[in-house]
């Protein structure tokens, strides 16, 4: 009799269905996790680099998830790394001038140069970018760059006037010249104004004193000191009609939105910001990070970087530029990234009008920062 009540696999009782069904449902999350565990990649970068418009496709294709920690300024980045245990950050986006310090402090891994296609770089300097190599040892790979110069409102400054930093002193701009609140680009531009050209970061006492004097003479024109959001807003609403210390990385976003603003490299020269990827020391995800850096150097990655929602940058590979011209000709033309255009960023570098951003050679960063505080308080 009892055997008659027993259910078989083929004829399960209602209780069996509930029991096994429940067990299966409860175990599903563990099965799916074991099947394809999403790898988290800790990223330290300027704002925007860990956003979906940049990393979304890579995340989906490789079952990874970026966890970005954003900073503003190289000093800030160094501080964050210094205060974190080794292995905290898997991938670090650094301003090129700070790579040497990252390496000296032992915060980044050595990279295998054979993993990256340096032959495709648009300029020879990009293959062995200053500070990225220690002899034959590679520590960082440049992925994008941009130029800083005179950023201005076209209704207040003519294109001709904008061809010199002297336009910042135009009487009509009194109280209308904004500063990006970081000493390095603004003081670098003042050094260029003084005609220091390629030696803009290598200032002896006399030249440093002259740069300080020039900067102080700009103070009555200064209308404010802003972070990214403030710079963006003050240019957009017309409160500031010229901006010192920035370039197309901010005006480009506004220009695409229809604002009457632009950035040019003036005759005294411009400054190049350069962003490079490094692998954090002690990272356990070096293989996937390497793949990500390769992706950012690929034509697709380069186009994403050029179209980045937070701030656009130039393509640095030939294939990347070609792809950009193919898929977004308008943006390529807007930024001069078309072979033969007079404002082609690569042409500007070859003409010697662009100087790579660096840290002061004869003064400390503290000296520059101190003066910057003094200037702001003047």
């Amino acid at each position: 009799m009892a055997s008659n009540n027993k259910s078989s696999v083929l004829t399960p009782s209602r209780r069996d269905v509930l029991k096994y069904g429940g067990a299966a449902a409860l175990s599903m999350p563990f099965v799916s996790r074991a099947w394809a565990q999403t790898v988290e990649i800790n990223m330290l970068a300027w704002y925007g680099h860990g956003e979906p418009d940049i990393v979304g496709e890579f995340e989906a294709a490789n079952n990874v998830k970026f966890k970005p920690k954003y900073y503003a300024g190289g000093d800030n980045m160094l501080g964050l790394i210094a205060q974190s245990p080794a292995g905290t950050y898997d991938v670090i986006l650094s301003d090129a001038e700070f790579v040497q310090q990252l390496n000296a402090a032992g915060y980044i891994e050595e990279l295998n140069a054979a993993d990256y296609n340096f032959d495709d770089m648009l300029h020879d300097d990009f293959k062995k970018f200053p500070g990225h190599w220690d002899g034959d040892k590679l520590h960082s790979v440049m992925v994008r760059c941009g130029h800083l110069g005179v950023s201005y409102n076209k209704n207040a400054v003519t294109a001709e006037e904008a061809m010199s930093y002297k336009c910042f002193w135009k009487p009509e701009l009194k109280g209308k010249v904004g500063h990006f609140d970081w000493h390095l680009p603004s003081l670098g531009m003042m050094s260029l104004t003084n005609g220091n050209g390629a030696g803009l970061w290598d200032l002896d006492d006399a030249k440093w004193a002259a740069v300080k004097e020039t900067t102080m003479s700009l103070r009555p024109q200064a209308g404010g000191f802003f972070d990214y959001g403030g710079t963006f807003n003050s240019l957009k609403n017309g409160e500031m009609q010229a901006m010192c210390g920035i370039g197309d990385w901010i005006t480009g976003v506004l220009e695409k939105d229809g604002a009457p603003v632009a950035s040019v490299v003036p005759k005294e020269g411009g400054i190049q910001w350069t962003e490079s990827y490094c692998i954090g020391k002690g990272s356990e995800k070096q293989e996937i990070v390497k793949k990500f850096i390769q992706y950012m150097l690929s034509p697709e990655g380069q186009v994403k970087s050029a179209q980045m929602a937070a701030y656009p940058g130039f393509c640095i590979t030939k294939a990347g530029r070609a792809k950009l011209n193919e898929v977004d000709k308008k943006e390529a033309e807007r930024t001069g990234q078309v072979d033969g255009m007079p404002n082609d960023p690569i042409t500007l570098i070859k003409e010697g009008r662009i100087h790579y951003r660096d840290i002061p050679k004869q003064q400390s960063l503290e000296d520059w920062n101190d003066f910057w505080s003094e200037y702001k308080n003047a």
Binding site: A72, G73, D75, N76, L78, G79, I81, A82, Q83, A105, G175, G178, D181, W182, H183, A222, G223, G224, F225, F226, D227, G229, G230, N233, S234, N237, G238, E239, M240, L365, E366, N369, D370, W372, S373, E374, K376, N377, A378
Partner: protein, 286 residues
């Protein structure tokens, strides 16, 4: 002779007191002591190193721009307090004495609502209103005035401070005035005291403690605010909270930022002590 009764250890009372004591020790006294210690540390290669050196104090207090910032912050916070108290008083007076209980309740509810939204968002919304191409200048333009520059000025900073403090000051003043025995006000009127004199000689002295506490809160919030002077004042020139950010941002000089923070705290302690002494001082009979 009666000796004061010696209180025995009350375990029940202590059980209730202990959490707040532990909390304050761990999250206020501890960090405060650490901040003082940190002001003597040094920074090497962007990393703080434990030390006992006076370099940070010498460097910060020896610089003209620190004292410029200090005086500016003190001046702006004082101005903010005076302006907030003056603007808030008529509103608080009306809420305390002139409206029904229901209106008062609704008004207080409406004054609390601004705290539901992010202060930063409220500050950014002023961009639309105060910009040269903004709402205020557009209205002034109709009567042939302006445009006036209001953003990135001390006026902009003050507007930001008001955004932060004014609702709170109105609420605190309303509570202070609501506690006044209205019979005393009526008595003053019956004895021939003019309305303004009644406010000055009866209402304000009776609400003194609450009014001073409202002013103190306004001063403390304005003195330590980073957002208004940065985003509406254009950091031009920087106040002490901005100086703290500047100091940490470049070179990771947390010990020097600690010096600025300690100077701010000492100032606030002094102001709070003076204010509370004044608030609770009994009137001498002449």
């Amino acid at each position: 002779m009666n000796r004061p009764e010696k209180k025995s250890f009350d375990l029940y009372a202590m059980t209730w007191r202990l959490p707040i004591i532990v909390w304050q020790t761990i999250f206020f006294v501890g960090p405060l002591l650490f901040m003082v210690a940190m002001s003597f540390f040094v920074v090497k290669n962007y990393r703080m190193v434990e030390a006992f050196e006076f370099t940070n104090w010498e460097k910060m207090l020896g610089r003209g721009y620190f004292w410029d910032s200090y005086l500016l912050t003190l001046g702006l916070a004082s101005l903010s307090t005076v302006v907030a108290m003056l603007i808030a008083f008529p509103a608080a007076y009306a809420l305390a004495f002139k409206v029904s209980d229901s209106v008062r309740r609704w008004a207080i509810f409406l004054l609390i609502i601004p705290f539901f939204t992010s202060y930063l968002v409220r500050i950014f919304s002023w961009y639309v209103i105060l910009a040269e191409s903004g709402v205020v200048n557009a209205i002034l333009g109709y009567v042939g005035l302006g445009p006036y520059t209001m953003l990135n000025t001390k006026f902009g900073t003050l507007v930001g401070y008001m955004t932060l403090t004014l609702p709170l000051v109105v609420i605190l003043q309303t509570f202070a005035l609501s506690n006044i025995d209205t019979r005393l006000v009526e008595a003053a009127h019956n004895l021939g005291c003019k309305p303004f004199a009644t406010v000055w000689r009866v209402v304000i002295p009776l609400a003194k403690t609450g009014l001073i506490i409202a002013a103190l809160f306004c001063f403390i919030l304005s003195f330590g605010d980073f957002v208004a002077p940065y985003y509406l004042g254009g950091s031009k020139p920087p106040t002490l909270p901005i100086l703290i950010i500047d100091t940490t941002k470049s070179g990771q000089q947390w010990p020097r930022a600690a010096v600025v923070a300690i100077m701010m705290m000492v100032t606030l302690f002094a102001v709070a002590f003076a204010a509370l002494t004044a608030a609770y001082r009994k009137r001498s009979r002449s």
